[in-house]
Amino acid sequence: MENTRANTPILEVENLTKNFGGIAAVKDISFEVREGQIFGCIGPNGAGKTTLFSLIAGALKPSSGRVRSRGQDITGVKPFRLVRAGIARTHQIVRPFREMTVLENVKLASYFGGETPPGAEAAERHAMENLAWFGLDRFAQRPASILSVGLQKRLEIARAMATNPSLLLCDEICGGLTHVETAAMLDLLRRIREKGTTVMYVEHDVKAIAAVCDRIMVLNYGKKLSEGTPDHIQSDAAVIEAYLGHPPVKGEKSE
């Protein structure tokens, strides 16, 4: 039992495709995320990262292909069921409930994110513990709207983590942050993994993703370009070409 569980990927994506009209935003992508990994997904703007992310998180329905978690088919499962099953997500553009306090934001996740709802006191205690873990406890009673962008990003992750996920899907959490803030955010991801949560991290900043990920997948024009360890990815000719471009080759039209 233990063995099969360790060998079954926590996330298994098989030939996932999404067409918008006649255009394939995501085309025939397959990969696996293993328990305990920080799995990165990078690609230039418009590579299909966010679409892929939305397909896995249940916000979009795929045109074809399957998504599985620990062997269970979760293709097209609605987000509120997905989070109760242990798969939580964060948003690229933070979406705090601005008219709630910081505590209420996290308490909501404690209340609703599990299989069975806890009591009011248990939810509040759990939320407070989470805020403390993320260093947000001193803002507990303040409205979420007063937090700085960096702290709002932290709240976004704290809220997702308050649902006790086994898999956390992170969408570009370092966008718009300073170097110091980015370093702190990446450190947070490592600590989340140490806590026992597997992370899939989507980002367009190569440095950030190479610094924390065990394994990286590179997307370009909706297709999987490459996959491997950070070292492997950074030396992959196809990846370098996708990111930095290449000198024009004879006979090829420039766009």
């Binding site: 998180a57 916000a59 609605k78 987000p79 509120f80 989070v83 109760r84 939580a88 997500r89 948003h91 979406r95 409930f97 601005r98 008219e99 709630m100 505590l103 209420e104 308490k107 909501l108 996740a109 209340y111 609703f112 994110g113 599990g114 709802p117 009011a120 006191e121 939810a123 509040e124 205690r125 407070m128 507990a140 009673q141 809220r159 997702a160 649902t163």
Partner: protein
């Protein structure tokens, strides 16, 4: 335990105050008829209680959950006709009111199942269409008398105070439900749906089920108000209980008082109950126009309604950090 929960529970005092206010109001209004015997005042308060009920009910879905409906006349009317038909069939009024709650709640599910898949303005527009369709059907339905209305025959003396207390208890129940919900997991979930439905779903809230649930509760209360009104009026007609102006009234009151708050809709219901007859009497031709203008004015000048204006004033007087 109490050490860790005490500093967190700032709303504790507010909680006590709200409870105290609610019970004081109930006690005061319960003994009022013993002190003053003015049938006219009792009638005015009776109508005000019904308006408060519908206003608080509308706020459960339109305020707490942020799903603005222009179709609450459907539930008010269905409640009114259910009580009327049931009482004429020999059912006692209290069971008839309960029947009104049930038929209105069922109607809310029929309205909600297709329309809660729509978002934002589309839900509001759909409720207008449904409301008008129901009114037209009721105008042409022969067994309820169609456009010429329906009469309730009660074979006992008219006791105004019985109606008064029925309406008072109903308004109290509505306010108590609203206060209770605002403190629960259900209330927090609705609040999240109002602010960002997708973000709420991403944290485990089932928006569709929550909207259906609060809509049904709101409809049940509105239906009972319709039933209590029908028994009092003893005569109802589709242009009245099912009229678009009824939907507008029910929506206007929470907006006047302060949307998505506990006391705003109560306040709005009281203000409306007092000025409504005056406005209709003074401007019979253009009273809907006045309501429309009032609605626009509030949304532009103070979206928080009377309560919102009070809060701003309080903050200005007590410095920026209060509240």
């Amino acid at each position: 335990m109490s050490e860790t929960s005490a500093p967190l529970s700032i709303p504790w005092l507010v909680k006590r105050q709200n409870d105290a206010l609610l019970w004081t109001l109930l006690a005061g209004l319960a003994i009022l008829p013993l002190l003053v015997s003015s049938p006219n005042l009792i009638r005015l308060l009776f109508m005000t209680f019904l308006w408060v009920t519908t206003s608080v009910a509308w706020n459960l879905i339109g305020g707490f959950a942020g799903q603005v409906s222009f179709g609450f006349a459907v539930f008010y009317g269905i409640g009114a006709y259910t009580t009327a038909l049931a009482m004429n069939a020999g059912v006692n009024p209290w069971s008839a009111f309960l029947g009104s709650a049930i038929t209105a709640a069922v109607a809310s599910l029929i309205v909600g199942l297709p329309t809660f898949r729509l978002r934002g303005p589309y839900f509001a527009i759909a409720t207008i269409g449904i409301s008008e369709a129901v009114r037209v059907v009721m105008t042409n339905l022969s067994f309820t008398g169609g456009a010429s209305g329906y009469r309730i025959v009660e074979h006992c003396a008219f006791r105004q105070l019985e109606h008064y207390y029925a309406a008072l208890v109903l308004a109290f129940i509505a306010a108590a439900i609203s206060i209770f919900i605002s403190r629960t997991r259900f209330g927090l979930g609705l609040n999240a749906i109002r602010q960002d439905e997708d973000a709420a779903a991403d944290l485990g809230v089932n928006p569709f089920a929550y909207k259906l649930g609060s809509h049904a509760l709101a409809a049940a209360l509105t239906g009972m108000a319709g039933g209590v009104f029908a028994r009092y009026a003893a005569f109802i007609h589709p242009q009245g209980v099912f009229g678009f102006h009824t939907s507008v009234h029910i929506l206007l009151m929470p907006v006047i008082g302060g949307i998505a708050t506990v006391w705003g809709p109560v306040l709005g219901g009281v203000v409306f109950g007092i000025v409504e007859e005056e406005i209709i009497a003074s401007f019979p031709e253009i009273h809907l126009l006045i309501y429309g203008a009032l609605l626009i004015l509030i949304i532009l000048a103070e979206p928080g309604g009377i309560l919102g204006a009070f809060r701003k004033l309080y903050r200005r007087l007590h410095g920026k950090h209060a509240g």
